[in-house]
């Protein structure tokens, strides 16, 4: 197994995630795309940890997972709030403030 394979996978996930964040109009999908990026990070960390024979990578990954959970919690709450006020979660329509 080469490190590169994991890194490429992670890079692909990252790219997909970024695409999702930039292109999806639905708030929930954007949230999920962010999760994709975080997972790309996790893959990186874990594979580097294995490659480097260091425990901190895994530890880092655990923290990322935990924090990501909290983040998603907040994010979903936020989207719910938005939905309650606007009956719509299309991100492209949220532009009350600009300039």
């Amino acid at each position: 197994m080469y490190l590169n394979q994991f890194l490429l996978l992670s890079a692909a996930l990252f790219a997909i995630g970024v695409y999702g964040v930039l292109a999806r109009r639905n708030g929930v999908l954007v949230l999920m795309s962010i999760e994709l990026i975080l997972n790309a990070v996790n893959i990186n960390l874990v594979s580097f940890a294995a490659f480097r024979d260091s425990i901190s990578g895994e530890v880092f990954a655990l923290f990322v997972i935990a924090v990501a959970a909290a983040e998603v919690g907040v994010g979903l709450a936020m989207i719910l709030l938005l939905y309650r006020n606007r009956r719509n979660i299309d991100l492209t329509e949220i532009d009350l403030m600009k300039g």
């Binding site: 425990i55 880092f60 532009d95 403030m97 300039g99």
Partner: protein, 502 residues
């Protein structure tokens, strides 16, 4: 490796309780507030703010004792350090936090929002910042960052029936999460290249590092810096700031523009000074571009703003550029400490003057009910003290002596001027030109407030509250004191980050 892990019995690492006392105090007060809320419900409402304020002040006690002790404390194998730098920045966070609480007191209470949770979140966020000051490890930095950010997302959206507040919250959240994801990706690469999450070790690896991974290192550094550039709202990562400031409750905007920004800088400083110190070839041009872009972009766009909070957001972007500027030459031999102390000085002074400006905005908005600059016209007629203080803060931001801002700018210029490098000088000239542009909009606001006619000639006085007045007084005194006797801030900011792993 796995076996190793299993065979080791978990042994709690030694904890220096004194060193983590500030964080613990904050945690305890946060819990206390939540408990009180649960137990006493509405009855406790009037006291929450006071309690939170006292809690923040109580947190200052261990910081003072630690400072008097004067010993650098290293915990968790260097992942968590309490040194002068950490203490100084913690003090900045706490004092700004206290002022924010003062600013929030009436705003939150009168807006009929949830109070206990608000202060709980505020304290949590503050705790994240206080942690950030000591974090010298990618993991702890990340955790601190999220700890300070997540409550802030919620606070931005606190006015939950207000569409703008919702929008601001969502924008801040999405951008924040995306930025931290990008940053994390960079961190993972960094870990991959160096094999450690600890900054000092990363640094020593990069110093002796292999040439093959230069582009990975560069990519990692850029991504990590970008993540924090987002936090400090440096152009072009600043896009969220104006919208979020405008939509958020004004005290929260103040909090973001001061404390949160400072936390971002603290992280950046630690990363650059401890982690990337020998990578000046990468971060110097990067920061140079960010600094120049922030100053210019922030100032130019601020010229066109009609909403004062939005203008403050862009002015904050420009100020970020100024604060970043010394970092652009921080890799020059002999300039490290000078640049560091310039940035810390700037942060401290910026906190005072910016909070002061927000305090005035909050106070005046109580009367005008708007944050449009026009609505403040002629404030001199009905609120002379407020107008004078606003002029104070605005001109301090512009860098006019003898108000604090001049010394901050002076320090920046002095670092750039001593860089002995064309790029340094160029940045100094850009900064000089920008400080003139900035003056235009600051002075315009001051002029509107002093010289124009009040809308509809409404000269009823502004109602103030004791907490607002005391917040204002603190800021004004500090701003003036920093300007007249810069030594007080200069002495404390004279710290170093290089002793550890430098």
């Amino acid at each position: 490796m796995t076996t190793q892990l299993l065979t080791l019995a978990f042994e709690r690492p030694a904890i220096d309780w004194h060193a983590v006392a500030p964080e613990l105090t904050l945690l305890a007060v946060g819990c206390l507030i939540t408990l009180i809320d649960i137990i006493f419900l509405e009855k406790a409402r009037p006291y929450t703010a006071t309690l939170a304020g006292l809690g923040v002040l109580a947190t200052a006690i261990p910081i003072i004792t630690l400072a008097m002790d004067g010993v650098d404390r290293v915990l968790f194998d260097g992942a968590y350090v309490v040194d002068d730098f950490a203490l100084f920045t913690k003090a900045i966070f706490l004092i700004s936090g206290y002022v924010i609480i003062l600013l929030s007191t009436n705003y939150v209470a009168e807006g009929d929002y949830w109070e206990n949770e608000y202060y709980g979140l505020l304290l949590a966020s503050l705790m994240g910042m206080v942690m950030m000051s000591s974090s010298r490890d990618l993991i702890s930095i990340f955790v601190a960052l999220e700890l300070l950010s997540i409550p802030a997302y919620l606070m931005v959206a606190w006015r939950k029936r207000d569409a703008r507040s919702n929008e601001a919250g969502l924008k801040y959240y999405l951008m924040g999460v995306f930025a931290s994801a990008v940053m994390l990706y960079g961190m993972s690469l960094l870990f991959g290249v160096s094999g450690s999450t600890q900054l000092s070790e990363i640094s020593s690896f990069l110093t002796n590092g292999n040439v093959s991974s230069v582009s990975a290192i560069t990519l990692a550094i850029v991504f990590v810096v970008a993540g924090f550039a987002f936090k400090v709202s440096a152009a072009p990562f600043h896009t969220w700031a104006p919208d979020v400031y405008e939509g958020a409750p004004t005290p929260v905007a103040a909090f973001l523009s001061v404390a949160s920004k400072a936390a971002g800088f603290v992280a950046l400083l630690q990363l650059i000074y401890v982690g990337f110190h020998n990578q000046s070839a990468v971060y110097e041009p990067l920061i140079w571009i960010l600094a120049a872009a922030s100053m210019t972009f922030g100032n130019l766009v601020a010229l066109k703003q009609t909403n004062i909070v939005r203008m403050m957001a862009y002015s904050g972007v420009a100020q970020t550029g100024f604060i970043l500027a010394p970092l652009a030459v921080a890799g020059h031999a002999g300039l490290e400490d000078q640049a560091l102390s310039a940035i810390l000085t700037y942060l401290a002074i910026y906190a005072a003057m910016n909070l002061g400006a927000f305090a005035v905005i909050i106070t005046l908005s109580r009367k005008t009910g708007s944050a449009e600059i026009e609505s403040f016209n002629g404030a001199f007629r009905y609120a002379p003290a407020m107008t004078v203080s606003m002029a104070f803060f605005l001109f301090s931001l512009a860098g006019i002596p003898p108000l604090g801002g001049w010394f901050a700018k002076f320090e920046v210029f002095s670092v750039l001027a001593s860089s002995d490098d064309v790029w340094g000088y160029a940045l100094a000239v850009i900064a000089a030109i920008n400080s003139v542009i900035a003056l235009y909009y600051y002075a315009s606001v001051a002029r509107c407030m002093w010289a124009d006619e009040a809308p509809e000639n409404d000269l009823t006085p502004v109602s103030t509250t004791s907490s607002l007045v005391s917040a204002l007084a603190i800021c004004a005194i500090v701003t003036l004191a920093f300007g007249v006797v810069p030594q007080i801030v200069g002495r404390f900011a004279d710290v170093t980050l290089l002793t550890l792993g430098g």
